[in-house]
């Protein structure tokens, strides 16, 4: 990977690392305000989220007591958060790269349907249940690549390209499934994805693994630094020698892969492939990423923030159900949380987002 990090001749004396640092680079804003104190770092940005999550938990304990505070309930929350969580990690990369991927929900549907057709299941029975996993991941990756190529090389705006994929993938899923629900009967697959390891469901493990992998990829590799550079200022990134188009394509492929993993997890969770799987999931994912402090205009964002964003929404829904409150009230609360969390972050970060 590192051979591509050679700084471009046009910006002599500045390394990519400098360009792609924690603070977004804005060529049009020469004087970047220096960072002040701990609260202005990533930890400070996430403090608002931790406060929000704690507030919801305190409300949960106060109203539902032990039913809420039990380890089983914590696992239930994590299990329900897992699909949205995994997809949100991929989405975080896309949004930091100043893009958007509206197609993830539909790609989950398509992947789950493709991986559970009669043909795939028969093959999985004969060979190995891994066939279903590989199918779903391949479908997700391909859909992501198509998005990426259209956006990076076809010069289609991300919003439009992924909107088209959102509609088309859902349609294709309906055609393949003939709008029926395909129940998974491959026992090995069900045993693995519905099972647990040392008391923690497999789905939660996948969520944890993907989050850790995402954190390393964003914070400890050139891929992550390039993502921030591309999102912060694509022109500067290009001048610094980053192949912006190719990198953009990779970001959408990554998001597609995340949706593919989400498709497999959805199959495990619901035991059925359906073209309705992942319906409107993209909205939950984008909400979680944005509440998690990732700028929609790109160049800044954290994996920890995204995970916290996902947990806030899932915990909220759990608290509401524990108290037998209506789903309508829950939707209102969700909207309030989005606004409050974003405002808290801005207050704590001490300034409004650099680019609006």
């Amino acid at each position: 990977m590192s051979e591509q990090t050679t700084p471009g001749a046009a910006v002599p004396g500045r390394s990519v690392t400098e360009l792609a640092g924690d603070v977004p680079v804005h060529a049009d804003r020469p004087a970047q305000a220096p960072r002040r104190g701990l609260l202005h770092g990533p930890a400070g940005r996430n403090l608002g989220l931790v406060i929000a999550l704690l507030a919801i938990c305190i409300f949960g304990v106060a109203t539902a007591g032990e039913r809420f505070a039990s380890p089983e309930n914590a696992l239930t929350i994590l299990r329900l958060a897992s699909v949205t969580g995994v997809v949100s990690i991929g989405m975080t990369f896309v949004i930091i790269g100043a893009g958007i991927d509206l197609s993830v929900g539909s790609v989950i549907g398509l992947a789950s349907v493709w991986a559970s057709t009669l043909a795939t299941q028969t093959m999985a029975q004969d060979l190995n249940w891994g066939v279903m996993v590989v199918t779903a991941l391949a479908v997700g990756l391909c859909a992501g690549l198509v998005n990426g190529v259209l956006i990076a090389y076809g010069k289609v705006v991300a919003f439009i390209a992924t909107l088209a994929m959102m509609v088309a993938a859902r349609g294709l899923a309906e055609i393949i499934a003939q709008r029926k629900t395909q129940v998974v009967s491959v026992q090995g697959f069900l045993d693995f994805f519905r099972g647990d390891l040392i008391g923690i469901p497999t789905l939660v493990w996948i969520f944890v693994l993907v989050s850790v992998a995402g954190w390393i990829l964003l914070n400890r590799t050139t891929f992550g630094r390039r993502t921030i550079a591309v999102g912060g200022n694509p022109e500067a990134a290009r001048l610094a020698g980053i192949k912006v188009k190719r990198h953009t394509m990779y970001l959408y492929a990554l998001s597609g892969l995340g949706a593919g993993i989400g498709g497999v997890m959805m199959l495990g969770r619901t035991t059925a492939g359906s073209s309705t799987n992942g319906l409107f999931l993209e909205l939950d994912v984008i909400a979680a990423v944005v509440v998690g402090g990732t700028l929609l205009v790109g160049g800044r964002g954290t994996i920890v923030g995204t995970v916290l964003g996902v947990l806030i929404f899932t915990t909220l829904s759990n608290v509401f159900t524990q108290n037998n409150l209506s789903s309508s009230a829950q939707a209102v609360a969700k909207g309030v949380i989005i606004v409050v969390a974003v405002m808290l972050q801005q207050r704590i970060a001490g300034r409004t987002p650099a680019k609006t």
Binding site: A64, R67, E72, N73, T76, R79, L80, E174, Q178, R179, K180, T181, V183, R194, P201, M266, R269, T270, T271, A272, S274, S275, T276, N277, G278, L279, S317, N318, T321, Q322, N324, S326, S327, S328
Partner: protein
């Protein structure tokens, strides 16, 4: 105003007398199906089924993004194909109100003999249906009602309130006098009137035997939302005695959640009547012990009635010379005892 009132009374009387006959009439076309209303003599495939004038019947419905809607479409089509005198035109299913309106306008221009319409939104399609009626084309309104009864010549309805009542009565019967029994409800899309009707019926039936809905969550008629809602419901309620789940499609997800939670201290009643659910009831190896039918043959009944209207015939099983204004189908409960009767009309989810 007396004329419409009079007609409405006729409709009520007609519907009450007719629903059993209709149920019998529609199932008798499915070879193995038993008579759902055993008290009534099976409706013979009377002279009405003899080929009559050649008529064109047009059908328009929402996108079949759900097993039940898919079954509606295929049953309607299959029914039409049984008649050599029916030219059947089926518009592509859509959830887009404006597309559906333009489909109906096209039907009017084409001068079809009758229109069977399952509106994606009853109120939004009322105006164009009125237009068709004014153009002399009888409209058969299926499942989702128009806001004005005069926009349709005949309305075929399921019984959502009745579904809730049937489910509630079954749960009452099973729990008997169990004091403090806990009953939960997993609804479908909460904003739909049909969900509200089902919940109202359920509550009313439970109230009669001194029970109440102790916990209620709403899912979205999909497997995914069913799993999610049920997971949280089970987590929030460590002990339950009975659950009514409104829809068998989302029921696949609900059963997955119950399985994941390892719970079996309660029994569950489903809704709509999918083949999957009936298979599970028959096998008797899950908590699902019963389901309430919401007939997916409504569209097919609509086609049959549209044919009679277009050919100026009445329902041969009724004394009345004309097709009734409203036909409301029955929502029976299916248990292990009678599941074999209903399996043939169970829709593949």
């Amino acid at each position: 105003m007396s004329a419409p009132l009079h007609r409405r009374w006729l409709a009520v009387a007609g519907a009450t007398a007719a629903f059993a006959l209709i149920a019998a009439g529609c199932t008798s076309n499915t070879p193995e199906a038993d008579d759902t209303a055993a008290a009534v003599a099976p409706a013979a495939a009377g002279s009405n089924d003899e080929p009559g004038d050649k008529v064109t019947i047009a059908f328009s419905g929402p996108a079949a993004d759900h097993g039940w809607l898919g079954a509606i479409n295929s049953a309607a089509k299959a029914e039409a194909e049984k008649y050599s005198d029916v030219d059947f035109v089926m518009a592509e299913g859509t959830n887009d109100v404006s597309v559906q309106i333009s489909q109906i306008e096209q039907f009017i221009n084409d001068g079809v003999d009758a229109i069977v319409l399952l509106p994606s939104d009853g109120a939004a399609l009322t105006e164009v249906a009125t237009k068709a009626m004014n153009a002399g084309i009888p409209v058969v309104n299926v499942d989702r009602e128009f806001s004005d009864p005069n926009a349709a010549r005949t309305t075929v309805l399921g019984d959502n309130y009745g579904m809730g009542v049937s489910a509630g009565e079954y749960i009452c019967e099973q729990l008997g006098g169990t004091a403090g029994a806990k009953v939960a409800e997993i609804a479908g899309v909460d904003s739909l009137p049909l969900t509200q009707d089902r919940s109202r019926g359920f509550k009313d039936a439970l109230t009669k035997c001194g029970l109440k809905v102790d916990a209620r969550v709403a899912a979205g008629f999909t497997v995914e939302t069913g799993e999610e809602a049920a997971s949280e419901l089970l987590q929030a309620n460590p002990k339950l005695d009975a659950i009514w789940n409104h829809d068998d499609d989302q029921g696949i997800g609900v059963l997955a959640a119950i399985d994941a939670a390892g719970r079996d201290e309660f029994f569950m009643v489903g809704g709509a009547g999918s083949k999957n659910a009936m298979d599970a009831i028959k096998a008797d190896d899950t908590v699902l012990k019963a389901t309430v039918i919401y007939p997916s043959t409504q569209g097919a009944d609509g086609v049959k009635l549209a044919r009679l209207l277009a050919q100026n015939k009445g329902m041969s099983d009724l004394v009345d010379a004309a097709v009734p204004r409203t036909v409301q189908l029955y929502a029976p409960i299916v248990t292990k005892e009678n599941v074999d009767e209903y399996l043939p009309i169970g829709f593949a989810s």
